[in-house]
Symmetry: D3
Subunit: 242 residues, 6 copies
């Protein structure tokens, strides 16, 4: 493990440069450009005063997410999903994950009968788009809630914790943090971890691409993830304090 050399030259436990830019666009109640290195995702939060049918009249709100990738966010151009006429399985899987992750930090009763939609659109992809999206969408969500509070539409802050996400993986035999595309496309195991600021796990999605991973590898990956998420939570706090 001592000789591991990541394509980027990073140390195993080193994240890429993280940048969180609020107010990236004007119209949305929350608008955040989040960058994990070369991965750049625009996360907007839109507030609407309606809820999906299954929640009507229950006095509760809803938080949901949609995910997209610009056709040339990637090395080779991908199909535009709108032109193909449907969202792919990967897209649906990711947007379901983002929605679940964000719903884990909000009191939907305190939100009232409103829907907040988090649109996460990848402008440039270099691995880790879903974890960047969750991390950035949390900041956009907070901004949207603050907007509601400033207009005195809601009395109590419905957000009860912060949420961030990072990927970890076993790359050429060694556990590493925050995989970029070069690592992601060549790793044995890939795991996405979503945690809150209380140290609890919200989602854990690990996949053995090559060989199955052992329990000790899992433990090492979880330790790296905890560390990375600590850094991301700090970056979120800092961005929100600006």
């Amino acid at each position: 493990m001592s000789t591991l050399s990541r394509p980027s030259g990073r140390a195993p436990g080193q994240m890429r440069a993280v940048r969180i830019e609020r107010g990236y666009t004007r119209h949305a109640e929350g608008s955040v450009l989040v960058a994990f290195g070369d991965t750049r995702v625009l996360c907007t939060a839109s507030v609407e005063s309606r809820v999906p049918p299954f929640l009507r009249g229950k006095g509760e709100g809803w938080v949901t997410a949609e995910y997209g990738m610009l056709p040339r966010a990637t090395h080779t151009r991908g199909d535009r999903e709108a032109a193909r006429g449907k969202q792919g399985g990967r897209t649906l899987e990711i947007q379901r994950l983002i929605g679940r992750a964000l719903r884990a930090c909000i009191d939907r009763g305190a939100l009232g009968e409103r829907t907040i939609t988090l649109d996460c659109d990848v402008l440039q992809a270099d691995g880790g788009t879903r974890t960047a999206a969750i991390t950035g969408a949390y900041v956009a969500l907070v901004d949207a809630v603050r907007w509601l509070q400033e207009r005195r539409e809601i009395a109590r802050d419905p957000i009860f914790g912060a949420v961030a996400a990072v990927s970890v993986g076993v790359y050429r035999g060694a556990p590493v943090l925050d995989l970029d595309y070069a690592e992601d496309s060549d790793c044995d195991t890939d795991m996405n971890v979503v945690m809150n600021d209380g140290g609890g796990f919200i989602e854990l999605q690990g996949t053995a691409e090559g060989h199955a991973f052992r329990r000790d590898e899992l433990d090492a990956l979880l330790a790296l993830a905890e560390q990375g998420i600590g850094e991301l939570l700090a970056a979120q706090r800092e961005a929100l304090a600006r």
Copy 2:
């Protein structure tokens, strides 16, 4: 935790009755009805001598899965996806999971330019349909491979390990194994675990539905999963020996 009472009366580490019936239908190269209690999934393996475009001419085979749920497999009737005109996000997510899990036990070079499609159709649902599907699909896959070997179409057995899956979760504060629908719809944390017979993890998908789960809860869940998967691997071996 001593007072936990599961709706089914099972002990925390007790699986439901598992039944694996080979040759359930006639036409498929492998056809298995798998039951985890009241959950019943028909898994067929179909061999075709063609591969998807991205593999043409590479001398490798492909294993893929499709998942469906009969409209009235559930307590209340769900929409028929064929009539609605698309597969939902949950369906796509599950069939991608099944495909990845089964590809983790097969040497695609030894399979040759063939596709084996595993159709997993839920006849009756009571929680854990995806884990039952993976467990049953493995047996159907083995039968399809044996069919190829009997016809001397492939020389070497491409299957290099067994794969099974089980769900675990935190139900009313206690870790339990193999959640049924009553538990699944009311649990705090739900995790699907796919392992091979070497004790390695192939997939890990944990979701906190209520409160985030702690590291010690995760450890307890993984221990239960390991135990359950041991029983499932034994049931597979026994079915294949019949």
Copy 3:
């Protein structure tokens, strides 16, 4: 005609073994596995207390059907209609036929503002899936109506007759009853006949695949159909008496 030999060895007027198994799955109000030889169709009846828009407020109910075929119910794997994104013409044609046939035996006023949906899913196909589906769906419909009566939701039995269906055809010059796949794919004329227990015709769908059929052939086919339907009506009565 004396030398006719059907692939199955059956006599010209001999049906395949018919099996009608009630309560095949747990959740549906009616659930029947019907087998005509190797053709096996799962028919469930689901009761919902709503009607389609065109019937709202008229005090009448609705009976409708959906039909599907598991991808590997057939000799070679067919596309999954949900994955292709639409139901084919054959599927739509069959489910429209099943719906019309079942509506012919029920007083929709006595049913009240309820919809009963008959899902007919073919687990294994060997010819005659639509006629097996109608025959089995009738039994599932009766069970669903009994369920409503036991819960005293409806006062009067809305079912005023039994309905069954069988195929007949001209195979190698001779009229035969209840075609299996080997005959169906090689016959000159194929006719599906739906009748009630009063001896009346509900549907008649005859197609000349090879040469056009003459009036005397039609008469012979109708006679065989009447006989076969008599046997099916008896099998339904017997199953419902159990």
Copy 4:
């Protein structure tokens, strides 16, 4: 029955005025406007020198049909199927019927590797659109074949018989020929009959809308159909002789 009065004042065995106009549009190899009273269908035959994948390299041709209804062909405007994004079940059922009927009069080997597509578009509907379509499409098909023969693309005439279709039904207790919309929407039994000029049946599709029909009613309907089809075959011959 003696007092039956059809809405149109026609006698029970009286067809509507039939008009067959060849060369209605310029571009198609065959183009026929057929009218059964107020029902007007434009049938064009298009010749293309390709066959569907399942026939490639077999030296045989294909004849197929597509059916459409202009949105305001009917009393109240219907959805445009192109705008809704799919053809309905009724449309698919009818176009499959037209295709089968026309394939019953052509030697596909003599046609060679060509496809003739019959587009049947209803400009105005007043009952019997599918039977008018079959009757008119036959004439368009003959014109397209003659076009091929004039250009010496095919040596031998592939058409070996004429095909026509008519509807019959039990209206207020009496068998009647060629139902118009007023009768069709209020009849007990409706049957579409396709026959050839040898007196053979090609398709028979009878449906009991109200009460099931008896054998003697069926016989009366078939007799009316035979008479009507005789008149239609004469009208086709006359149009083709012009």
Copy 5:
């Protein structure tokens, strides 16, 4: 320019023969067959007493259009959009244009909460289908409004001007009026012009297919269009006076 010879032999400023036939079909409130030479479009106007959601309760009506082309309206058969499952970009573009053009001559407040849908279906195409459609749809719209007035459903005539459309283009260097297919597929610049009877422009859509057009060419084209539209407005008046 003196030596220009149009394929049809027409003079540069000469329109094709224009024919406007009212009452072409029976059911629609307005039904017009319009012909610009060999281009023939059936335009029906359907009145419905409902408005789209965005207008509900505002006391205003709506006028909209749908456009279609029969598959064999053209030289070679085109796909049926209903079968392909979506309307193409060209179709959507044209039907949006027709709708905008017709809404420019009607007071939607005076129409009341009604929708008039103009279905423009091309029976035969020879260039200029969209301009013929607009010109014919105007007449169908007037007929539908008269129908409403005769039934005293609306008090005041909501139509405040006439609308017609024509194409102009630069063909082999010379500006010409009303392009047919031979010219359209071989011209440098193609412009569709919609004007009202006050001499005002409603739509102007010019496209340089070959070389970009100069300002003096534009001026010449607009002069031709004004002249052609004068003739079309006269033809509309004459048809409506019959």
Copy 6:
């Protein structure tokens, strides 16, 4: 007209601040962020060495465009077209326009059998997205062509002119240049003009939203457009010289 006050305070012939930023993302062969005031569009050019079927083997290339709007680019959130399952008519219309405009400045023979796809995705919308898209896409196209030339894949520069686009309109009676959203949603006439650097018109699309526009208004609008396009062509040159 002297008292006109535009919502933005701009003079009638004053464009918004135009910004053209090359190299906005990394992967595409050309990547340009173009801003017309608050309207921001990301235009990427992707080179692929294949052409659409209708051009295969002809030695010519193809240039095409796709257009999208992020759901919250606008004041209120719009549906995601990928989730709705189809691109709307407005989207298709715009992407067809962009494609035609860019094909007007390139020699497709000199490009060789390659496709350049221009993806124009609106990050923020404030009126004029299609004109900004065309103006920016031209710069991305030039960058992609330079990329091909640097790699010596093409010998001769296929681009033979520059293309830019601007909107003009009649706002409260006065002709104005480069409408923003506040003006666009409240103007009488709206025209999009695409021109090349030779002063020729490539596209002209004018629509009277309120009253029809007169010839003198059209002349005034075209003069404004010519001036604005001059400024845009200068901005393009400047950006490309950097």
